[in-house]
């Protein structure tokens, strides 16, 4: 990754919306990210604990999931995160219209993600795998469900970003960056959920 080998005081463009903490965005959004990371980490540890107590059941149930759909979900969110990161950069350079376009496209992909999850759930339920079928499916619906709730919150954050990009008087680079940071968090939470539910054995 090499990120930690970067100089300790990297070049900072004057337009980067840093608060007094030297963090991108606002300090508050990082507290939220830290809190969410802690909450989801505890879900993941509990999931792995139950999994280790009944590995056969979890393996058999995991086999019922569609890995291809899972990887498609991941790529959809990665593209949307990339677009949002490009949008933040465009906003920083004063190209607000271009930034707005990237954020709209990212929201479209977010919608596609939610749609694909609804489709996946309905296919699973039709095939007879419900929340109460077994412990794996309880975790599956809980983790993917709470994640989709975060995607929906992400739409609110990106909505605020779009609103801010829309008019010169209401623009605040730290707020735009904070909205983007929330969206990226939704992305990285999915990355770990994908590995734990769909891929690991």
């Amino acid at each position: 990754m090499g990120a930690s080998s970067l100089p300790l005081s990297p070049h900072r463009s004057p337009s980067r919306g840093e608060g007094c903490h030297g963090l991108p965005g606002q300090a508050d959004i990082w507290y939220l990210v830290g809190f969410e990371a802690l909450v989801f980490s505890s879900y993941f540890v509990v999931y792995l604990l139950y999994r280790s107590w009944n590995p056969d059941l979890f393996l058999q149930s995991q086999q019922q999931l569609n890995q291809n759909l899972g990887v498609l979900n991941t790529v959809i969110l990665l593209i949307s995160s990339w677009l949002v990161a490009r949008g933040v950069q465009a906003a920083r350079e004063g190209r607000h219209e271009a930034a707005g376009k990237q954020v709209w496209m990212a929201m479209g992909l977010g919608l596609l993600f939610v749609g694909s999850k609804l489709l996946e759930w309905s296919l699973k339920i039709q095939a007879g795998f419900e929340f109460s079928t077994n412990r794996f499916f309880s975790f599956y619906y809980f983790l993917t469900g709470i994640h989709v709730v975060h995607v929906l919150f992400g739409f609110v954050f990106l909505g605020v970003v779009l609103y801010q990009l829309g008019g010169p008087r209401r623009r605040s680079q730290p707020v735009i960056e904070a909205g983007a940071i929330f969206w990226h968090m939704v992305d990285f939470l999915w990355v770990m959920i994908f590995a734990l539910l769909y891929l690991m054995r």
Binding site: L8, G22, P24, L48, W82, A85, D187, A195, Y198, R201
Partner: protein
Amino acid sequence: MSHETDRRLALVFALLTGVTLLSWWLGAGDDRQAFSPDAALSLAVILMAAIKLRMIVWEFMELRHAPLRVRRGADGFLWGIVGVMLLVYAFGSRMQV
């Protein structure tokens, strides 16, 4: 867009997608054959997810510009949790109450 930033973001996206496809190939490569427990595969898949997660936080969320102590804290948190997850995967069955 500044050319350098544009290229860096595109490279990060390409790497993230590449690692995703690699973990997909590892995890779903046997094409719906009977799943069997596989510690090496699980270790690889969880570590690749952690590396992807760190790339997203460092590059897209721009934590690489944060002060050193914040970056150290974030790294400590990430690798600490990954360590706990791997320990639970390996030894969780002995913790049954």
